[in-house]
């Protein structure tokens, strides 16, 4: 049996180990991918830390399990009933393994159905030389997109869907985007290239605020150096007293949720993307929703594959340059350093990408320098 290197969660405690594991074989409608680049998501960090969410969601019984779900790689083997994807295809993986018989799937909202399984959470993930995934969630990449970029399309897709919402009507509008994480930073870039005419960013870490400016933020506010009232007045001052057309809540904190409901204008749109540490959350129901006549779009995942298509086009055309958000790259074997970067506070990183293969790593290092 052939083996591969993989980052494995072995015990219900902080950390993970690099182990030799058998290279997986595909079920009939799954396929096997040789990983070229794979990036670390906040979900991976939760599992790495083995916080209460992971202990509950995954559970000690499921271990050992390979981490990771953000990826770009080459298909090396396909199951007998695969139809769309062929050996040699350069693909990325949608994380959400949907149930095709679920009503929301049958109605086209594949990303939020019942019985959803998650790559790297319910199945072995892609922090490895090879991994298995169902054909249904494979997205064929444009060959011109480097693997380091292709690997981050999944979180970029979150950003793209959050910015565009259900209707993709953003051109010439104003937008507040909250948060310092990679998805907030990607969202600023997407908003910028998709014609959002005024981007107001709310963050708190110098390192990430600078990336936000590179991605295209027009105006910025430090949430840890201002009051809610000051932030609201700032936004009103820069929007003729009306508030922004669209507010993207990407933090999940009470303060950020309050900011967004206050800052969005009448008949505007609020994207609810951030997950609150505790729910229910007190929300200004009367003034923030009913009297405002606004629309709230709960955003989870990405549209399959509408978001992927737009992402691919924006990347392949070089309209969108996500490289400022990719702050660190490492060989897969140095995954622990990658996780350390992700855990550092105040933040000194955004997106961290890992490479099982040395040549890929070196090519990415060269690309990132240019």
């Amino acid at each position: 049996m052939e083996t591969m290197k993989a980052v494995v969660k072995t015990k219900p405690e902080f950390g993970a180990e690099l182990q030799d594991k058998p290279i997986p074989k595909p079920q009939p409608d799954w396929l096997i991918v040789k990983v070229r680049a794979t990036s670390i998501c906040g979900t991976d960090v939760h599992i790495y830390k083995w916080d209460p969410w992971s202990a509950d969601r995954i559970g000690a019984k499921a271990l050992p399990q390979i981490l990771g779900h953000e990826v770009a790689g080459e298909v090396v083997e396909v199951g007998s009933s695969c139809k769309r994807i062929k050996v040699g295809d350069y693909i990325s993986a949608e994380t959400h393994i949907y149930d095709p018989g679920d009503l929301t799937s049958m109605l086209g909202a594949f990303h939020v159905g019942k019985n959803m399984k998650i790559l790297g959470v319910d199945y072995d993930g892609c922090f490895a030389e090879y991994f298995a995934l169902p054909e249904s969630i494979c997205w064929p990449n444009d060959k011109s997109i480097p693997s380091v970029i292709a690997s981050i399309q999944e979180p970029l897709g979150n950003a793209c869907y959050a910015v565009l919402g259900e209707d993709a009507d953003v051109a010439g509008k104003s937008m507040v985007i909250t948060g310092d994480g990679p998805i907030s930073l990607f969202a600023i870039g997407v908003a910028r290239v998709c014609g959002v005419a005024k981007i107001i960013h709310l963050g708190k870490y110098d390192f990430n605020m600078e990336i936000a400016r590179k991605m295209g933020a027009d105006l910025q506010l430090y949430t840890n150096q201002t009051t809610a009232q000051e932030r609201l007045e700032f936004v009103m001052d820069h929007t003729g007293g009306d508030g922004v057309d669209i507010a993207l809540e990407m933090v999940g904190s009470q303060d950020s949720i309050n900011d967004c409901f206050a800052m969005v204008r009448k008949a505007g749109r609020l994207t609810a993307f951030g997950i609150a540490p505790e729910s229910p959350v007190p929300v200004d129901y009367n003034n923030g929703i009913v009297f405002k006549g606004c629309q709230i779009h709960g955003i989870n995942g990405r549209k399959i594959f509408d978001t992927w298509y737009r992402n691919r086009n924006l990347l392949a055309s070089c309209r969108l340059d996500p490289t400022p958000v990719i702050t660190n790259i490492f060989p897969l074997s140095e995954f622990a350093t990658g996780f350390e970067k992700m855990l550092e506070r105040p933040r000194k990183s955004a997106k961290v990408v890992l490479f099982p293969d040395k040549a890929e790593y070196e090519a990415a290092a060269k690309f990132m320098k240019e």
Copy 2:
């Protein structure tokens, strides 16, 4: 100076008086309407009771003021700069007097702008033989619609907009509608004639539950005889375990809000119409919005004049019969009895319509019997 009978709020306390008042003269872009029928809104009841909201919103200094804003009547005089409406037109009044220079107005969302004034709240209303209103909010009625029906188009418009939401995509879908008030009952009727295929009504008063059935509710739940868990299970049982496509929150209570966020399916739509007694309101932000990927439409007023157009067509074609909701009619002089009916608990009424003119009253009485 000619005078007219009018129902006037004279003092900052419970009640109102029938008084002789001068017939108003129009400003250049206003016009004068002879009232044929006028119905009592919950807002009128607040003002009649002079509850804390009225004391704060209107204030004792504004008194005396004529009540009322739901109306049908005939234009008897137009200001010098009126353009659309002519003497003799049979009109109803949109309550929201929008500021044409406000951004949301300029973008077409006339119903939720800044600087909004309300007929019967910021100006003398229509519980009178005549009243004045700006031409901008006049809607020309179809002559075939009796005045008793035409007068209730404003709350029917609330119902129509709440049911249809921003996109009017309801055909063949399932819907929960909460509440016993006239707007909930109208909403059931609108949903029924617009192709909602399963209407689940949540109410509590026998009298109104029966009207709801006449209006087209398929299934009903008494909220005062069931637990939240029982209600949720009932809805899940009748929707294949998915929840309803659309939930209309029309009460504003914590229980009703919770019901709606729980009952709407993934990728569904929730209409937030009811006003909460206190805001902020705890909302299941994570599971009810973000993970559900649903859309929330805050609904206030009616689309000007999109909703009025649909309403008119549904009424003129007799597709929609709102008469079961019109439970009481009185001459205007018996307004106090009308308010008593509205205040009775348990509810024994829905919509109450008043008529300044005896012949109109008698015609309506005859119509309602048929």
Copy 3:
């Protein structure tokens, strides 16, 4: 090998034969259905007649081939990789066998992709006791819907998608619907139950005009007894001089296309469903499209499975009664009589349904009488 009765196109000429054929076995992602009811489509009539379209589209080399694609039946065997559908499920078949790797499929528009295959055209169809189809196009029926009704959901879906268009925004609007065929008649029914407030029907055969009235047409015009100018004036007279909000072109003739482009109001919507006998077609591009600022929705097939979902709900709730359109039912063995009915001119039929099983036929005969 077990055999079954099937209606087979054996030769490239008018007609078909009832033959014994082997019961098919499923490929891994296909399944086998025992047919309970199957209805005759215009496409089947083309093939039956072996007109130039069939000779070109199917070709003599493909014969013998079993006809039919409108169906309801019970799953009796599933291929090894089927996931959604189980033996015993009561299903209907979407006719369009889409390529999952096609871009439009990946973007959710499954019904218009490249490489589309058609049941009963590219594969053996369902005018038989059993037939095979891919799991991907199976729709699970509500058990409460009789097979005679369930079989016509495919053309009813055409009607539903044509009426609702891309946005399903029809409530309270006015609509012109052209044509005498079953899909026009179904469309009238769908429009009626989905809140279209004024339905103007343009047809020419007495028999079908009467069905149109039963389905809910408010106003009718004989196209063979009026001039284009008379028809336009009639529509303008009944729409306040504006034209209809929505025009459904379901014939494809130059006259009908001209009528629809003339009758739709400014900023209205025109559904292009009918197929022209010859294309290109002269269209009033300037006044009918550009200056009118209207939207034209090309409609082909049905949304998979959004339309099916709405259809099922409208039928299961009995909101929509399609039985007036089902004018004839026969045992499968009397298929030739069914085709005769379809070919008769002036039309004396609309939808014809066939039943391989005698008991099913008798149950349907009883149901249709009630």
Copy 4:
């Protein structure tokens, strides 16, 4: 009576004259604007040439009449019933003077109503030091936008509405744009800044093709050096064989219409903006509309004021730089040279802007050099 300089169409023949005319006085809901910059539209050229369209649309009886409708200026006097706009406001003019009582206006589609009047066609225009217009069509400009830019917002609005269509869903999509005129060139710029990921431009004049590249065209085809088949193959080659997501027909010629219907992908969108020299136009109805399942948006004018709002934001933020399209500026007195530039073939100009005031002209000259 005070007088002003104005470019007046005096006789029903080629040309116009600079004359002294009285400065207009406002009606109650009109206002007077001191012109800072005014640009020449193709419509002005038609009238200047006095072609058959002008002779028919305006007629000799209406002369003398002042030309022009694209403008930026300062309000110097307001009528007695004006509400939104004040003396000193810096405004531009929507050309379409809509009837507020028309149904389409009442439904929010102000730009395509009945009884539409056009500035500079039905009324004296703005090729003058002062002109009058109704308050209803005034758009308040952002003070930071130079008058030379603010004056071209009306045709830029055409471009913006044509690109965004009814739904503004363009981000990450591919687009064909046809034509060499200023609106085609503006459309390329709008598409570029609004996230269209691949812009394929079809034109024929070197001078304008170069501007198109500056505005952001990714790929170009000379329509006078290629066959329809070559153009289609080129587009298919650059879109994976699917065709473009969106095609903007901005010429109106049979060839350009054919190109666009052929090049748009299944389930795509075609914007019909160009006006055909003769209508009806043969259109590939079956394959280009019905079987393709595409949507056609007839686009005329601009959304009032949704398009203006987006335009203003894109310009004020400097996201969109329209200056490459502004090829010539002249003092108003040199209007004849401006018209000559517009009439030159092969084209050697795009947008020409005129300035009644010398200081404004010099400021614009300086701005354009930077």
